[in-house]
Every structure is written in C-alpha cells, then in structure tokens.
C-alpha cells in the first residue's frame, strides 16, 4: 500500500522563514502533503503559506506548540495519512533529512522515529542550563522507556498510523516533546532515535528563553512522573 505522508509545520509568527521551508520540503519530499498549522500568528504566516498552495489551518488564537502539533495529528488522522512528520517552521530542520526519518520508521518497524542532535558529533551549540536539562531528561527517559534516548527535546520526528491516532487524542500542552515520548511508551508504541543535523535558526526566537528553562525543567519533570501513573481511555471514532 502506498503511504500517504503529511508534513506538519506548526508556525507562530514565521512569515520570514515559512516559504523557504515549504520550498525545501517540496523539493526533497515531493510526494508528501504539507500542512501549516498557524497558531494564531500576528504576522502574515498564513498568507505566505497559502500562496505556496499547501494545506493551512488557522487556529483562532494562540494555543501553544503542543495544541498546534496535535491539530496536525487530528488532520492527519481524519484524512487518512499513514505517516506524519513533525518539523519546525523556523528552518532548524533541513528537509533532506525527512526521507531518513521516514525510511527509519519503515526499516526498524517502529511507531515513532525521533531525530537526535547528539547521536553523532555534529556541531550543535546551546546554553548550558538547556544542555543540562536535555541531558537529565534523556537519562530519565532512557530509564523509563528502556530504549537508548539521547535527545528528548527535539521536535523533528516521524510517526506511523498508530502513533498518529493516539496523539490525535492525547498530546501534551506546553513543552510537549519529552512528555510525548513517555505517553507513547505508556501506550506501548516503539520509539527509535536517528541522528539528525540541525541548522542555526534563520529567523524568530527559540520558544524557550533563559529564565523559562527552569520552569520548563520542573514542569516537564512533574508531568513525566504523573504520566507514569496515568490511564487513558482511547475513544474510538
């Protein structure tokens, strides 16, 4: 069966970079459909994306990255996509690697393929508190999921049908990347990491500033611990 692929681009005020990403994806993965989830941007993100003739969902107001990505999963689930790839809209994730994510999904027979910036020594610089947070969470999650995970905060991932269906119903709200892996593990979804390379961001600022790094760590840690005790009632539609 031919796979139906959807690239999900959550975008908040990305008018400067979004057109470039869309062109990049169209060139590298021409068979995939692209969905831009405009998360209540104040700028022309929606207009620029519409001119590129891709699917665009305009959320009525800013819901945060987690809810924006989940909207993408809902779209993918309802329109029968068998593979979804989540990708940042700020140009950090070069599109030529999307193919690697998708083929890793099929070759390894897993449900989620997560990109990791640390599996191979590519140059990646980040602030020290962030690096510590990333390191601690990867240790914690490797322990919980019993899979080797080196980078749990990267938002460059591919999902199969099973993962799409689950995440269309449950997806964490803010700072969702770490928690999403725990939830997936609790659902017995298999996760595999592959090395990726990321670019310096072209425009816009990181969603995580210096001071929110502390809040981020506490909040995500608490959420991860609680998730371990959570039970889910999957609604079949």
């Amino acid at each position: 069966m031919q796979n139906k692929i959807l690239i999900i681009l959550p975008a908040f005020n990305e008018e400067k970079s979004i057109a470039g990403i869309i062109d990049d994806i169209k060139k590298n993965v021409p068979e995939a459909d692209i969905l831009v989830v405009n998360d209540g941007s104040f700028d022309n993100t929606s207009k620029v994306a519409r001119e590129k003739n891709v699917f665009v969902i305009d959320l009525p107001f800013n819901l945060g990255i987690g809810a924006a990505v989940q909207t993408g999963f809902k779209f993918a689930h309802r329109n029968g996509y068998t593979i979804a790839v989540q990708c940042d809209a700020d140009g950090q994730h070069p599109a030529y690697q999307i193919k690697n994510l998708i083929s890793a999904l099929q070759e390894n027979n897993v449900d989620i393929v997560a990109g990791s910036r640390f599996l191979r020594k590519y140059s990646y610089k980040s602030s020290i508190p962030r690096q510590i947070g990333i390191f601690l969470f990867s240790k914690l999650l490797s322990f919980i999921t019993k899979t080797k995970l080196t980078d749990t905060t990267c938002g460059f991932r591919a999902f199969n049908k099973k993962a799409i269906e689950f995440f269309s119903q449950y997806y964490p709200c803010d700072y969702p990347e770490v928690e999403a892996l725990v939830l997936a593990h609790m659902q017995n979804l298999k996760i595999k990491e592959i090395p990726i390379r990321i670019m310096e961001r072209k425009a816009g600022v990181s969603s995580i500033g210096f001071f929110s790094a502390f809040y981020y760590t506490i909040k995500v840690f608490l959420a991860v611990i609680i998730d371990l005790f959570e039970s889910f009632h999957i609604k079949k539609r």
């Binding site: 699917f55 305009d58 809810a67």
Partner: protein, 123 residues
C-alpha cells in the same frame, strides 16, 4: 463576644444575599455557587448557635474567632481547589473547540475552492 457574633452574622447574611442575587441574575451558576452558599450558611449557624463552635474551640484550645477563621479558611481552600479544576477542564475544552474551528475552517475553505473550480469548468 456578642458583638463579634452579631458582626459575623451580619456579614454572612449579606454574603448569602449577594450570592442569591448573583444566581437570580444568572451571573453565577448554581454548580459553582453551592460551595459558597454552604460556607455562608455555616458562618450564619456559628453566629446564631456559638455552642457548636465552643466545643470545637475547647477541643482545639483556640478562641471563638480563631476557630471561625479556620473554618472559613478550609472552605476557601475547597472553593479554590474546585475552581482550579473547573478552569483546567474549561482550558481543555477551549483548546479542543479552537482546534475543531481550525480544522473545520480549513475543510470549508477547501470545499469552497473545489466547488468554485467545478463551476468554472462547467461554464
């Protein structure tokens, strides 16, 4: 002692009237008002029949007013907890509604475009 009882009694009566009036004007849902009404009534009972509270105050070794404040504090905690849960649920529902609006709008725009193209082909 009598003075403080009268003050507390008046405050709780005033309080109950305000709650009642807010519900009557449909500004306050009964669901959320219930805990407020109960706490108002408890205050009123304590000012009318202080004997109940005296037992507590003897047992805990506290004064009348302190016990009353303690009771109020517990009620406030309950109300706040209830409101936090209500807000969380509303936030979740709000998110789902917003997502649904986005998805439906996208579908609507796509269908509109398709019908337009079909019409153009027909003519």
């Amino acid at each position: 002692m009598l003075r403080i009882r009268i003050i507390i009694g008046l405050i709780s009566l005033f309080f109950l009237v305000i709650i009642f009036e807010a519900i009557r004007r449909r500004k306050f849902m009964e669901k959320y008002a219930l805990l407020w009404i109960i706490s108002g009534l408890v205050m009123l009972i304590f000012s009318l029949f202080p004997e109940i509270l005296f037992r507590f105050s003897h047992f805990l070794g506290l004064y009348y007013l302190t016990v009353l404040l303690l009771v109020c504090f517990i009620f406030l905690l309950l109300i706040l907890f209830y409101l936090s849960i209500a807000i969380s649920q509303l936030t979740e529902k709000n998110k789902e509604l917003a997502q649904e609006i986005g998805l439906l709008k996208e579908k609507f725009d796509r269908l509109k475009k398709e019908t337009k193209e079909e019409e153009n082909e027909a003519t």
